[in-house]
């Protein structure tokens, strides 16, 4: 049970040639620069574009050589970047639009979804009287109420400012944790991807260049080249101790422990951490006379050149967890960072991303 797809589409000046093999649960981020074909890929999955190829969702063939299920017969939900609420219907009727047409499939329940997305006070408003963030929440609820077996989201946060994004992200996290269905989430924002995704597909110039579980894929040294400043490792940890005096929390992960700023998460809670490659430096021996609080014994696993000739990306193993460190080529040579070498990773900043 999974989603298997490959599409080929030839437009003047653009070719989409994408292959996907996604798990049947969790959030898959389709990540890449603007214009790389992420949205086109999503539209192919929805049947809004028709290219050559094949698409199979949980064993059902939606597209094949002689078969093309039209969009309205595909049990999917689609959240557009621009919400696309129906201007002639109020919020409640927008929500009912898909729900009424969804005969047969098990109802997800209107009230729980209105509750989940905090839409109770908005039901009688017209779309033009909603903020961008509210519109997007209505669009998400409207899509969920069709009882989709696959949820497609096309940069649902891209048209929102920072504050509105922070307002919606918690809702998306709740969705990720509560939904039983696979979600394909298109984004060009690395922080959203790090926060929401379990699985990632990296696209470049119409092609899928890498895909796999998030932590493993992000820690690959051949990909960070494409992620640039956003390159970094994402992994899960458990809150083990909270220090009231210094407002710090100790989190344990597979391979060690770190002190992070206390976000208020309770002891025992699973949290997601992100460490950017540019915030990790490497020392040959342990230093205690520096401001850096987190130092971990690590083993050099691999390294690769960066987009600038002065830089290299080094993959470090800390127990079962991979970290990335970006340093200058000269430092790497001076420290003799060959694979297998034991070093200390000095971590300047850890982001707790929910």
């Amino acid at each position: 049970m999974s989603i298997k797809a490959h599409f080929r589409l030839d437009w003047p000046g653009f070719t989409l040639d994408a292959a996907l093999d996604l798990p049947r649960r969790g959030v898959t981020a389709v990540f890449g620069q603007s214009g790389c074909g992420k949205t086109t890929l999503l539209r192919c999955i929805a049947g809004l574009e028709r290219g050559a190829g094949r698409l199979e969702v949980n064993g059902e063939v939606w597209q094949d050589a002689g078969r093309f299920v039209p969009t309205h017969l595909r049990p999917l939900g689609y959240v557009f970047q621009d919400a696309r609420l129906f201007a002639h219907l109020d919020v409640g009727r927008n929500l009912d639009f898909g729900m009424r047409r969804n005969r047969g499939a098990a109802m997800p329940g209107r009230d729980p979804i209105i509750e989940l997305l905090g839409l109770g006070p908005l039901l009688e408003r017209m779309p033009e009287r909603l903020s961008g963030g509210e519109q997007q929440r209505v669009a998400i609820a409207r899509a969920l109420l069709t009882a989709p077996r696959l949820l497609l989201m096309d940069e649902p946060l891209a048209s929102l400012d920072h504050a509105r994004k922070q307002e919606i992200l918690p809702y998306l996290e709740r969705l990720r944790d509560e939904l039983e269905i696979p979600v394909i989430y298109v984004s060009h924002a690395a922080d959203e991807v790090a926060r929401l995704a379990d699985h990632i597909v990296v696209m470049e110039d119409g092609h899928t260049v890498a895909q796999g579980p998030l932590a493993e894929t992000l820690a690959r040294v051949d990909l960070p080249i494409r992620l640039g400043e956003d390159a970094g490792a994402v992994f899960e940890a458990t809150v083990a101790e909270r220090d009231a005096e210094w407002h710090l929390a100790r989190v344990e992960f597979d391979g060690g422990e770190l002190w992070v700023r206390d976000s208020g998460a309770a002891i025992g809670k699973r949290v997601r951490l992100r460490i950017l490659a540019r915030d990790v430096s490497i020392a040959a021996s342990r230093h205690d006379d520096v401001s850096i609080m987190n130092m971990l014994p690590a083993t050099v696993a691999a390294h690769a050149g960066e987009d600038h000739p002065a830089l290299v990306m080094v993959q470090l193993r800390v127990g079962g967890t991979a970290l990335l460190a970006r340093l200058t080529r000269r430092s790497a040579q001076r420290l003799d960072l060959a694979p297998g070498r034991r070093v200390w990773a000095q971590i300047k900043a850890v982001a707790l991303i929910g």
Binding site: A46, G47, L48, P70, T71, H72, L73, L76, G77, Y78, F80, D82, R84, F86, A87, H88, F97, G98, R101, N102, R142, A143, T146
Partner: protein, 223 residues
């Protein structure tokens, strides 16, 4: 004051304009939908044919329609074969002519409205399980409502105002084809200026009110 002949002409005019407008909304909507969405090569030619009555003298249109509906024309042969006789100088002949004559005034506002809506709401409807026909009636038509209102007003008013085509196709038969505009011409020919004033003044007032309503409506929409 208005005499019974005037009242009959007013009644006939309203009946003609209403029938024509209803028919045009039924025929013009699919044409407007097709014109708004097609990428076919035929879009240009079909759009131009629909718009022809805007630029052609009504007499030209009337002349060809007369030939078409006559005993040697394609439409005439068909109507005779179908057992309804020939259409020139009948009410339904006027209706048919008016449908062509007022077509652009109905098709174009609806087409513009459909074009303004674009593909996006319809794609959203498709992802919400609405089949194409369902999406047309539940999304496209309600969103195009201002276009439909403009089309109805213009179609009706333009049919009320036709003269040349009526004269060519319908002549001047009381209760059958003698509409207000033709009767005004009759009054003037007979030097009955008083009678002409009542009808002509009425037409001016009617047209003014219709346009006022239209501008009030479109002004409200754009604000």
């Amino acid at each position: 004051m208005l005499n019974p002949a005037d009242l009959a002409a007013i009644w006939l005019t309203c009946k003609l304009a209403t029938t024509t407008t209803v028919l045009l909304l039924l025929i013009g909507t699919p044409i407007a939908w097709w014109l708004a969405r097609t990428r076919s090569w035929w879009k240009g030619p079909v759009g131009a044919v629909v718009a022809l009555p805007i630029v052609l003298p009504p007499t030209v249109l009337g002349f060809y329609l007369l030939l078409l509906m006559g005993p040697d024309g394609a439409v005439g042969r068909f109507t005779e074969w179908a057992g309804v006789g020939l259409l020139p100088f009948t009410f339904w002949g006027l209706v048919l002519a008016s449908v062509f004559y007022s077509m652009p005034f109905v098709v174009q506002p609806i087409q513009n409205a459909f074009e303004a809506i674009g593909e996006r709401p319809l794609e959203a409807a498709a992802t919400l399980r609405a089949a194409p026909l369902d999406a047309f009636f539940s999304v496209a038509v309600p969103l195009a409502r201002p276009g439909f209102i403009t089309a109805t007003i213009l179609g009706f008013a333009h049919t009320v105002g036709e003269f040349g085509v009526v004269l060519m196709i319908g002549g001047n038969i009381p209760d059958k084809t003698r509409v207000v505009s033709v009767l005004i011409y009759d009054h003037v020919e007979a030097l009955e200026y008083g009678q002409a004033h009542w009808l002509a003044g009425g037409m001016v007032a009617f047209s003014f009110l219709v346009l006022l309503a239209l501008y009030a409506f479109t002004g409200r929409k754009t604000r």
